[in-house]
């Protein structure tokens, strides 16, 4: 646990007094919060020790707001401890179109590789949830907005193919703005490729659970993310085909409050359940066991909760 020094305590008292002002100018104030010590809730402005905040899976202890979670933490929180075996680490994006907007695509990829790691926008592998083997995949939203190019499409396809081969459930945690424009039509075709692989899993009677994180839109939503036997979402996650800005520009009027949020989708019958991040792992374990017809696991045998 990181204990704040005296200076930090004074600063915190000041922040608490100025909470109102903080909300109004959150952008400029964000920088002033000592990094690694304190984290301010994006929704309610509450200040929490970063260590506790991370321990709490980046869910605000006061208002329950689910903050963006780095993929590493996500994997640790969703799978049984030390069960993750990442695969496909050798796959890299090329530049099939020689695409260049304000920067060259190859430079964007190299930059993301350096700052996030060479996973591209998706990491795939095997793990266990509640002791049950799964073929799992996690979008890396930090990497070019989780956009799906050829590498992501290939890895998603392999998640389904490995699930089929081993006859174990597939679980995918999506967080993506959609297809990666810099790979043009090849990105679009990843929607077809992944959906075809998902279809083979369905035909074999093997469960696939799709978890939609904030945000899941475009070509990812309009393919495998909406094709789960069970589709879950985190609270308030934005899930939809067209981005809200595009919808607004098209219709030329204000969007209704809560539009395209998980609660909106649940109401319209597009999701099975909204599950809070703190309950998600346990719920996934339960559902996967039920779907696979596996017996309930004794509570005592459950592995310890991951420590963030």
């Amino acid at each position: 646990m990181i204990r704040p020094g005296k200076g930090a305590e004074i600063r915190m008292a000041w922040w608490r007094r100025k909470k109102q002002a903080l909300e109004q100018t959150s952008e400029s104030n964000k920088v002033s919060v000592p990094r690694g010590l304190w984290t301010k809730c994006d929704a309610c402005g509450e200040i929490t020790y970063t260590a506790e905040f991370v321990q709490n899976l980046r869910v605000c202890p006061v208002c329950g707001h689910h903050h963006v979670m780095p993929t590493k933490e996500r994997i640790a929180a969703m799978l049984d401890r030390d069960s993750w075996q990442p695969l496909d680490l050798e796959l890299r994006s090329g530049d099939p179109l020689g695409f260049r907007d304000q920067a060259a695509y190859s430079d964007r990829v190299a930059k993301a590789d350096r700052s996030v790691g060479p996973t591209d926008a998706f990491t795939a592998g095997f793990g266990t949830i509640d002791g049950l083997d799964v073929s799992a995949g996690f979008f890396v939203f930090e990497y070019m907005g989780g956009s799906m190019g050829s590498v992501v499409g290939e890895k998603v396809t392999r998640v389904f193919e490995r699930a089929l081969e081993r006859k174990i459930p597939a679980v995918i945690f999506s967080a993506s703005g959609g297809a990666r424009m810099q790979e043009g039509i090849l990105s679009l075709m990843q929607m077809a490729k992944t959906s075809a692989a998902r279809g083979r899993l369905r035909a074999a009677g093997i469960p696939y659970v799709s978890v939609c994180l904030h945000p899941t839109t475009g070509g990812v939503a309009a393919s495998f993310a909406m094709l789960g036997d069970v589709i879950l979402a985190e609270p308030r996650a934005l899930v939809g085909f067209a981005g809200p800005r595009v919808v607004q520009q098209t219709i030329g009027q204000e969007l209704p409050p809560g539009f395209q949020r998980a609660e909106f989708l649940l109401e319209h019958g597009m999701l099975d359940r909204i599950v809070g991040r703190l309950e998600l792992r346990e719920q996934l374990g339960l559902m996967l066991r039920l779907l696979a017809g596996a017996p309930a696991k004794a509570a005592a045998a459950l592995p310890p909760a991951p420590a963030g």
Binding site: L89, E90, L91, R92, S93, G94, P96, L97, R100, D101, Q102, G149, V151, G153, E154, T157, A179, M181, Q182, E183, G184, I185, L186, S187, L188, M189, Q190, M191, A192, K193, S195, A196, A197, R198, G199, R202, A203, T217, G218, G219, A221, A222, S223, A225, M226, L227, V239, G240, F241, A242, V246, V247, T250, I251, P256, F259, Q260, F264, G269, M270
Partner: protein, 319 residues
């Protein structure tokens, strides 16, 4: 006909107008006949030259030309006995996608495609060929019917994209498209999709997961519209010409990228200047491809279709 003339069509259209005027002036069999023949030859040459050097941006203008033939035009030219079938059996009928049963060379097929309108009134009715979930669910129903009765499936793609509206999102646009993709990948019957104009994003692909993917010569197929791409990546919608080049969206680009199986030639000057010739070329291509597909077993077709899409993309391996 809107009579719209694109910038690069103008010299040709002007020459053609001049030829028509000469013909009117001189009457049949006059001393002007040589001159008219010379001009006609010149017009054809000019057209051939100009159309051999079209930029991606010009291709896009042709693909979206208001006089370009639409789905129902090709159905009328290539198929017989078309009977339109409507409704998704859940919510409504979406006129942005038309579909039904018809004959190709006397054999029953199921056909569907996005349908744009010719004028404002038609476009309001057909929503500019931008389908809502009901359209994709109607498509699913027809695809399942094709499978049930063992009828080959023909999909004509011509849309700027699926409609981004509030109702469309409420009723599950993403799910409707996704389900189309999965369903098509598993159909037992032979399937061919043809991009006849605009192939815009997921709303186009939703009816494009087929054994063969054909494109008309001046059709385009892209992950996003150049304008949308420009506004996101260039933060400037005016950069759309550059985006059109960068996206590699022409029929020949898609052959090079391993997506399009065959480019179907259009009439000289584009399909809007010669529907019968374009439709005849399409008819030939369809006959040939369905013939090849019919010779395969169901299992073989399913394996090949899976492998076809499985290969798509460009992935490098780190040494």
């Amino acid at each position: 006909m809107s009579g719209k003339v694109l910038e690069f069509e103008r010299p040709i259209v002007e020459l053609e107008t001049k030829i028509r005027e000469l013909k009117d002036l001189s009457g049949a069999g006059s001393e002007m006949a040589d001159e008219i023949a010379r001009l006609e030859q010149k017009a054809a040459e000019l057209q051939r030259e100009r159309f051999a050097a079209l930029t991606p941006w010009e291709q896009l203008q042709l693909a979206k030309h208001p006089d370009r033939p639409y789905t129902l035009d090709y159905i009328g030219e290539v198929l017989t006995d078309f009977v339109e079938l409507k409704g998704d059996r859940a919510f409504g009928d979406d006129p942005a996608i038309v579909g039904g049963i018809a004959r190709l060379d006397g054999r029953s097929v199921v056909v569907l495609g996005q349908q744009k309108g010719r004028n404002t009134k038609e476009n309001l009715h057909r929503n500019f060929g931008m389908a809502r979930p009901e359209g994709y669910r109607k498509a699913q129903r027809l695809m399942k019917m094709a499978d049930q009765f063992g009828l080959p499936l023909l999909c004509l793609i011509d849309t700027a994209g699926a409609y981004p509206g509030i109702g469309a999102e409420e009723r599950g646009q993403a799910e409707a498209i996704a389900t189309c993709l999965e369903l098509m990948a598993g159909l037992r019957v032979p399937s061919i999709s043809v991009v006849i104009g605009e192939g815009g994003s997921g709303g186009a692909l939703a009816i494009g997961v087929t054994d063969r993917i054909l494109m008309l010569e001046h059709a385009v197929y892209s992950v996003i519209s150049p304008r949308g791409c420009a506004s996101i990546l260039w933060k400037d919608a005016e950069a759309e010409r550059t985006a059109a080049e960068q996206l590699k969206m022409t029929a020949h680009d898609l052959v090079g990228l391993g997506i399009c199986d065959e480019v179907v030639p259009e009439a000289l000057g584009g399909a809007h200047r010669g529907l019968p010739a374009t439709a005849a070329a399409l008819h030939d291509a369809l006959r040939r491809h369905y013939g090849e597909l019919a010779a395969l077993s169901v299992q073989d077709r399913l394996e090949r279709r899976y492998a076809k899409f499985r290969r798509m993309g460009h992935v490098e391996m780190q040494a």
